[in-house]
Symmetry: C2
Subunit: 180 residues, 2 copies
Amino acid sequence: MIRYILLGFLKYKPMTGYELKQTIDHSTAHFWHAHHSQIYTTLRQMEAQGLVTSQMVFEEGQPNKRIYQISEAGRKALDEWLAQPLLEMSTIKEELLVRLFFSAQRDPLQVLAELAFQRQLHQQKLAQYQALTEIQHVEENAPALQRDAAFWRATLEMGIRYETTYLGWLEDTMRMIETL
Amino acid sequence: MIRYILLGFLKYKPMTGYELKQTIDHSTAHFWHAHHSQIYTTLRQMEAQGLVTSQMVFEEGQPNKRIYQISEAGRKALDEWLAQPLLEMSTIKEELLVRLFFSAQRDPLQVLAELAFQRQLHQQKLAQYQALTEIQHVEENAPALQRDAAFWRATLEMGIRYETTYLGWLEDTMRMIETL
DNA sequence: CATGCCATGTAAGGGGTTACATGATTTT
DNA sequence: AAAATCATGTAACCCCTTACATGGCATG
């Protein structure tokens, strides 16, 4: 999966593993993230498979970089993957819900504290999303990427709605526990 | 993670791997699922670690079963896990959003078809959730599990809200693509 | 002087998926 | 006669996480 994200970004321009990590963190991370270790190893693999090429860049006073570029085979692999529609729903793994499911015998105050902490995390996430200006910047300054930006915005919109729903549910669930 | 789900269910009553699989499919599957292969191997591991015990049951005209029971160590492990509050947000892995993020250059009709298919899947999921009567059954017939049922219902409620949000977003995103 | 950022990697392990494998009974 | 349900397991693999490891430059 992460391969296609890397290919997707490399289609826009050549980048280093480090830059790809930054890019992912600022865009797809809320629906698919990756650690730098995975990114570096996957890029190596992909190079061995001919999906990308790389070249080292040595600059004085700066750390060495390895810049990756998508190959024809890489473009083809990405296009083929996109052409094959997704036929299942992605499965969710929400640890908090697992914990809540089995929390009937726990001290309600501890459960409430845990939910309150999660509320904080989700509030931060939501605020983060609403503060993102990268897409708007592209929309205003890169007319060639208008169409792309619309799709990016759609995924961001899902992130915002998800966090909003989550927060509402946390509130209601806390109220439910309080009145038990 | 799956270990705690298994322990959580075994706390209610002894069960076979098969029954645990069924139980998970009808309750926690929308926020944490597992294949039977994982369940069987994890139960074996857990038995080796003393978290559960098992005994074979041979009955005429019926397949052999291995019934698992939670041990004292198992109860302790579960309680300790629940006592340790979750300090991070679960990370999401939504393949559809990855695909959409990189779909600007795809044929809009194909993207729309893919989203329409996902809408169908999510409608089915939502209908499934709304048709679940197990919790209500417990609420009406097992007064000792009232409290437990309230927590189960909360997780189901999240599933319903999630699917509702997802469907609304799919509709809006499809409309956005149509008007591009 | 310490923290943070830039930049890249390796290694071990775990968790989870997919596929292989079997076989009896019940339902359509 | 075929498909579904009950019932349990093994094996290979892959993806991902966590930890280990290094080192220079810039900023406070």
